[in-house]
């Protein structure tokens, strides 16, 4: 599409830099948005995208650089300034108030008032209108905690729209959405474009980017590495820019001879989280568990680890039925679970590397309850070196390490328990490509050594590249199992969206 005269940019960032202690998050970054267009912001985790978003929304202040909105220079000292300038964001994690109503969530911080009092009726009216635009199936009076993940996401979108922003930032907006909901979102994006708004679309799903975006800007290691028209570029080009090298090295898949059945799960159920889960796993096998965010995969895995209660069904390890009432039962049975939310469920930020590594296997490092520092250090060194952990010392506080290194330490913690069955829940979420490759390579090694692995992942390339077979889950139920040979992206994604399930498609 040739354009004779391009409209002036609605947002211009130049020479944007931001430093944190020990980390150069952004350096001399530039970004231009034009009205009525969708700009895709590309980059690996750790490239600086979320820092950039936080600067645009007034949560961080840049160390240097200029920001112009509609030609006017601006500087934001708080999120309110960003709103006033017409910028809003839909964040990756829902940051909202469970105990308040949908309406209050939408309008918190900018509630309409009349003579100093909050104008409730106007607020409910506006909220209802916004929800109607989004085809939402719930009322503005609903308490947020009663909504499902996708519905909460709609509220986030409504919140962004309620600011009547000229510039809307969407950070991984489709993670929890089914195909139909993604179509709805794209329809809304087209509407916003027609209204002359600009959208900054952050995603690592290339099919979506090529579908919806007009232009792209790429960041790598905190620096600007390029921009251009989407129509003039291919996925391979973009990945090369993002990563600095070509894709093949990321998923090294080995051929492994599979051993005996180590895990048999039969008709597992929980009242609200999952139902009818059955599968078996052999030594050396990698089972991929794929689904949308909120499909119930983590909850099912946590049930295998003694964290979630089971109301029906059985679990057998090495042929013996086991009852799991706590994680220590699971650990004793040889099961290890590397959790999805590293920060909240997996790491102790103030503890050192050594203490983090040995926490799940303390008894093995102590005699009569007294901890042996030498034994701890030996295990930490052994596993840390094997996983190529980069740190100043084995005593260094875990919080000071990068996301990728922290993840390696969490994996080390679980390897120290000598498991037979290793469950990895989104192990490469939020880490840089180098660590990602290391984790994948390591998984291959472990499988070759006879470990049985369950890989929970929302990244299709990862699951298709690493798993021997792929089990798809949707809304708490198993939908279809694909062998490596019969797996195609379209089939898997539609299964995960619930389109071929026995139940009604609309979630």
């Amino acid at each position: 599409m040739t354009i004779a005269v391009e409209p002036p940019p609605i947002l211009e960032l130049a020479h944007m830099s931001k430093r944190f202690p020990g980390v150069r998050a952004l350096h001399d970054v530039r970004l231009n948005l034009r009205p009525g267009e969708v700009m895709a912001l590309l980059g690996e985790n750790g490239a600086g995208k979320s820092t950039l978003v936080k600067i645009l929304t007034g949560i961080y202040t840049p160390d240097s650089g200029t920001l112009h909105v509609e030609g006017q220079p601006r500087s934001f000292s708080s999120p309110t300034d960003a709103w006033a300038a017409g910028i809003t964001a839909i964040h990756q994690e829902t940051v909202m108030f469970d105990e308040l109503s949908v309406t209050e969530n939408i309008f918190m911080g900018h509630m309409p008032t009349r003579l100093g009092r909050i104008d409730w009726s106007k607020m409910y009216e506006e909220a209802a209108a916004l929800l109607a635009r989004l085809d939402a199936d719930f009322s503005p009076h609903t308490l947020l905690k009663r909504l499902g993940v996708a519905q909460k996401h709609l509220v986030e979108i409504a919140r962004a729209l309620s600011h009547d922003a000229r510039i809307i930032i969407m950070d991984e907006p489709t993670a929890a959405l089914s195909s139909r909901e993604i179509e709805d979102l794209f329809r809304i994006i087209e509407q916003l474009k027609a209204q002359g708004r600009a959208i900054l679309f952050i995603s690592h799903k290339f099919d979506e980017i090529f579908r919806i975006a007009d232009r792209w800007t790429c960041l790598r290691d905190g620096e600007y590495v390029g921009e251009g028209q989407i129509s003039a570029v291919t996925t391979a080009d973009l990945v090369k820019l993002m990563v600095g090298r070509s894709i093949e090295h990321v998923f090294p898949k080995r051929e492994v001879a599979m051993g005996d059945v180590v895990l048999e799960v039969e008709d597992l159920a929980n009242p609200t989280e999952f139902d009818g889960a059955s599968f078996s796993l052999r030594a050396g096998e990698i089972l991929g568990l794929y689904g949308l965010v909120g499909a119930g995969r983590s909850e099912l895995m946590q049930a295998l680890f003694g964290l979630t209660p089971i109301t029906r069904g059985s679990i057998k390890v090495h042929g013996k039925p086991i009852a799991l009432s706590s994680p220590s039962d699971a650990i004793a049975a040889g099961i290890a679970y590397v959790p999805e939310d590293r920060q909240v469920q997996g790491t102790f930020q103030p503890f050192g590397l050594r203490e983090n590594t040995t926490l799940a296997s303390l008894a093995q490092h102590a005699t009569h309850g007294i901890i042996s520092y030498a034994a701890e250090l030996a295990t930490t060194k052994k596993l840390g070196q094997r996983l190529s952990v980069k740190a100043a010392s084995w005593e260094q506080r875990l919080g000071e390490l990068s996301g990728g290194n922290q993840q390696k330490v969490v994996i080390a913690k679980w390897l120290a328990t000598s498991p037979h069955i290793l469950i990895l829940d989104e192990p490469t979420k939020g880490i840089d490509i180098g660590s990602k490759a290391a984790v994948h390579e390591f998984m291959g090694e472990l499988a070759a050594q006879g470990l049985a692995i369950i890989l929970v992942s929302s990244e299709l390339p990862e699951v298709m590249g690493m798993a021997d077979s792929i089990q798809v889950m949707h809304a708490g139920r198993f939908v279809r199992r694909f062998s490596r040979a019969e797996a195609t992206p379209e089939a898997i994604v539609s299964a995960a969206s619930g389109e071929h399930s026995a139940h009604e498609a609309h979630p």
């Binding site: 108030f97 918190m108 100093g116 909050i118």
Partner: protein
């Protein structure tokens, strides 16, 4: 908000009513208008202080120094009134609110701007305030002999046959209700306690909110300080000793969650009323006042357990049937 009002507060209201009826059966004098007015008058302090503490607890904070603030302000006001006998009632009350606010601002500054955890700050100021009472009065007690008529008259006054203290409690409670329910800063308190990260993303200035609630708690403590000293005609270091725990108990019974972000004005007031009824009921049914603490303790525990049960997270609603069931029970 409306749904919450339906169950928890209604239940509490019914319990209070049932309690009063039960006592009334044993001693009908309990349910006479005079007696009921007396209960409300006695509880007037607790009503106001409970709402003030609720504001603090909503933001995930706590203020253990309110009773000490009350006592210190009461003493300061009494001493000032003794030194300046011409000081009119309005002047006395303004002084009380002013001094209380300043004391509250000390808490507010340390918590909001220095960043010290509220329990630590208020533990410290609790000790400092109590000690200051001793210092400024030279260890002496002030009694009604030391207080002039302007100072003492107010709690005894009535308007439309209803004691002034009830009117004060009514005005203050209404003002606080307006704040909690209909003002931006009030709704912001729920946000700050419910999800501080999200509150920041919404542009809410958490430090300012915190500074506000501790100053507010101080202001109300100050006003109550004057009313207390004036009503009982006495001021010394130990007045209202331990009262901060009674106030927190009233909040808890009223459904205010210590984790922040949850609480209603009606609940808090009912919680205070509940404790007030118990305190007044015991002498009427010939139960020695020594039972009061035991009963309070049992009630607090029961209330906390019940609250926790009703607040229990439903578990993640992943299965479609589970979500529909939850939505259905919502309507």
């Amino acid at each position: 908000m409306t749904r919450v009002f339906a169950t928890r507060e209604l239940l509490l209201g019914l319990i209070v009513a049932a309690l009063m009826v039960t006592v009334g059966l044993r001693a009908p004098v309990f349910l006479t208008p005079a007696s009921l007015l007396n209960i409300l008058t006695d509880t007037s302090f607790l009503f106001m202080l409970t709402l003030a503490q609720m504001a603090v607890i909503l933001t995930r904070g706590i203020d253990l120094s309110v009773a000490a603030n009350l006592a210190l302000t009461g003493m300061i006001v009494a001493l000032t009134s003794r030194a300046l006998p011409g000081l009119p009632l309005l002047g006395i009350m303004t002084l009380a609110v002013g001094v209380g606010s300043v004391l509250g601002m000390i808490n507010g500054t340390l918590i909001a701007f220095v960043g010290i955890p509220p329990i630590v700050v208020t533990l410290g100021t609790l000790a400092v305030f109590r000690g200051l009472i001793f210092l400024i009065a030279g260890g002496a007690w002030l009694t009604s002999k030391d207080m002039n008529e302007t100072f003492l008259a107010f709690p005894r006054a009535t308007w439309l046959n209803i004691p002034s203290l009830i009117w004060v409690a009514l005005i203050v409670s209404t003002a606080l209700w307006m704040m909690f329910r209909h003002s931006r800063i009030g709704r912001g308190l729920y946000a700050v306690g419910g999800n501080p990260v999200a509150a920041r993303y919404c542009g809410i200035n958490i430090a300012r909110q915190q500074f506000f609630v501790y100053t507010l708690a101080g202001a109300i403590s100050g006003l109550t300080g004057y009313l207390w000293v004036s009503r009982y005609g006495i001021a010394y270091t130990d007045i209202a000793q331990g009262y901060e725990l009674t106030i927190i108990a009233a909040c808890v019974i009223g459904g205010v969650s210590i984790a922040g972000g949850i609480g209603s004005v009606s609940g808090a007031l009912l919680g205070a009323l509940f404790l007030g009824v118990i305190v007044n009921a015991l002498p009427v049914i010939d139960v020695s006042p020594f039972w009061q603490m035991l009963i309070s303790g049992a009630v607090i525990l029961a209330a906390v357990i019940v609250n926790a049960r009703s607040e229990k997270p439903l578990g993640k609603l992943i299965l479609r049937e589970a979500r529909l069931k939850a939505a259905g029970s919502e309507k």
